[in-house]
C-alpha cells in the first residue's frame, strides 16, 4: 500500500501544485468566475492522458519506442514556455495586478491571460498523466482479478493526497496579500520551471538528442530522489541526486534568464 501511495503522490504532486497556483492566481486577479478555464484545461489534460494511455497500449515498434518520449519532451518544454511567459507577464503588469480588484480583472482579461492559465493546467496534468492512468489501470485490473485492495487503495490515496496538497497551496495562496502572493508565486514558478527545463534537457540526453554525460556530482547519500521527500524536492525545485553538467548548466542559465524576466522589470513598471 505504501509503495503505490508514493508512486501516485509523486506523479500527482507537480500537477496539483500548478493547479493550486493557477486557481489562486485567478482568485488574486479577482477573476473567480474564470475558474472554468483552469477546470477545462485540467479536464482536457486528464482526457489527453487517458487517450495517451490507450494509444501507448495500441502502439508498437518504433512508434512506441520513441513517440511517447517525443510527446513527453514537447510537453515539458511547452510547460516551461508557458510558465516563463506567465511569470514575465505578472512582472510586467505588477502595478495593475496590485491595484483594486476591478483593475486586476480588466488587466487580466484585456491581455488574454486567463486562457494561458488553462493551458498551464493542461500541461501540468498531461505531463505525468498518462503514466498515472496506466499505473492506476494496472492496479484496478489486478484488484479485479482478486489481488488485495491494498495496492489500489494506496494508489487512490496518493492521488487524493496530491489533490489535498494542491488545495492547501490554493488555500494558502488566497490567504496571502496580493503583493506577497505575486512575489511567492514568481519564486515558486521560477524554481518549478527551472526544474522542468533541466528535466527536459536530461530527457533529451537520455533519448540521445543531446550528448550523454556522467553525473557531475552525487548527493544521493544526502537525499535520494526516489523517496517521498526527494520526490517533492524533484517536483518543486527539480532536485536531482546525480545531475549531469548539461542539466546543472541549463538549470542555472534558466534561473538567471528567468529571474531577469520575472524580477528585472519590476522596478521600472511597479510601484514601491
Amino acid at each position: 500500500m505504501a509503495a503505490t501511495f508514493v508512486v501516485t503522490l509523486r506523479e500527482g504532486f507537480e500537477a496539483a501544485l500548478l493547479l493550486g497556483i493557477v486557481y489562486a492566481c485567478l482568485d488574486r486577479f479577482g477573476a473567480r468566475d474564470h475558474y472554468r478555464w483552469v477546470t477545462l484545461g485540467g479536464a482536457l489534460g486528464l482526457v489527453a492522458s487517458i487517450l495517451m494511455g490507450i494509444a501507448v497500449t495500441l502502439l508498437s515498434g518504433p512508434l512506441l519506442d520513441l513517440g511517447p518520449d517525443l510527446v513527453a519532451a514537447a510537453v515539458i518544454f511547452a510547460a516551461v514556455g508557458l510558465l516563463t511567459w506567465h511569470g514575465w507577464w505578472m512582472s510586467r503588469h505588477a502595478q495593475a495586478l496590485r491595484g483594486d480588484v476591478q483593475r486586476r480583472v480588466a488587466e487580466a482579461e484585456a491581455t488574454r491571460r486567463l486562457s494561458v492559465l488553462g493551458l498551464i493546467a493542461f500541461t501540468g496534468v498531461f505531463r505525468e498523466g498518462a503514466e498515472t492512468v496506466l499505473f492506476l489501470w494496472g492496479l484496478v485490473s489486478q484488484t479485479a482479478e482478486g489481488a488485495s485492495w491494498d495496492r489500489l487503495a494506496g494508489g487512490a490515496l496518493g492521488v487524493a493526497t496530491a489533490a489535498a496538497l494542491g488545495w492547501a497551496v490554493f488555500h494558502g495562496g488566497t490567504r496571502l496579500s496580493v503583493r506577497h502572493f505575486f512575489t511567492v508565486t514568481s519564486v515558486v514558478l521560477l524554481l518549478v520551471a527551472a526544474g522542468l527545463f533541466s528535466t527536459g534537457l536530461g530527457k533529451l540526453q537520455g533519448l540521445g538528442f543531446l550528448p550523454p554525460a556522467d553525473a557531475f556530482w552525487d548527493t544521493s547519500f544526502l537525499l535520494s530522489d526516489r523517496g517521498l521527500v526527494g520526490g517533492f524536492a524533484t517536483g518543486l525545485v527539480g532536485y536531482r541526486a546525480r545531475p549531469t553538467l548539461i542539466e546543472i548548466t541549463g538549470y542555472a542559465l534558466y534561473l538567471v534568464v528567468a529571474s531577469a524576466l520575472f524580477f528585472g522589470g519590476r522596478r521600472a513598471t511597479g510601484p514601491r
Binding site: 509503495a3 508512486v7 496506466l134 494496472g138 537520455g206 536531482r240
Partner: protein, 112 residues
Amino acid sequence: MHRFALLLATTLAAVVAPSAATAADPAEIALTIEENRFQPEEVRVKAGAPFVLVVTNRDKTAEEFESRELRIEKVIPPGKTVRLRVPALKAGTYPFVGEYHEKTAQGRIIAE
C-alpha cells in the same frame, strides 16, 4: 548554433533510421519483466560501446522502466516490447527499477 543543429540532425537521423546503420549495429540485450521482476536482474555490457535494451513486459499490467542514471523513463504496456537505445557507458554500475513495482522490480547494468 550551426554545429548544434548539425548534431541534432545527425542524431535524429540516427534514431529515426536505425536500419541504415548496418556495419556497427549496437549489441542487443534482452530483458524480460515477469511477475514484477526483471529477468535477468544483472546485465553486463562492454564499457564504451552503445547498446540496445530490448525490454519485454510479460505481465498483465504496465510497468515503467526507470533509470535516473541513464535518464530513461519508459512505460511498457502489458505484453509489449520496447527498444531502449543506451549510449556508451563508462565502467560502473547503473541501477534501474520498475517504478510501478519498485520493491521487486530491481536490476542493474554493469559496464566493464
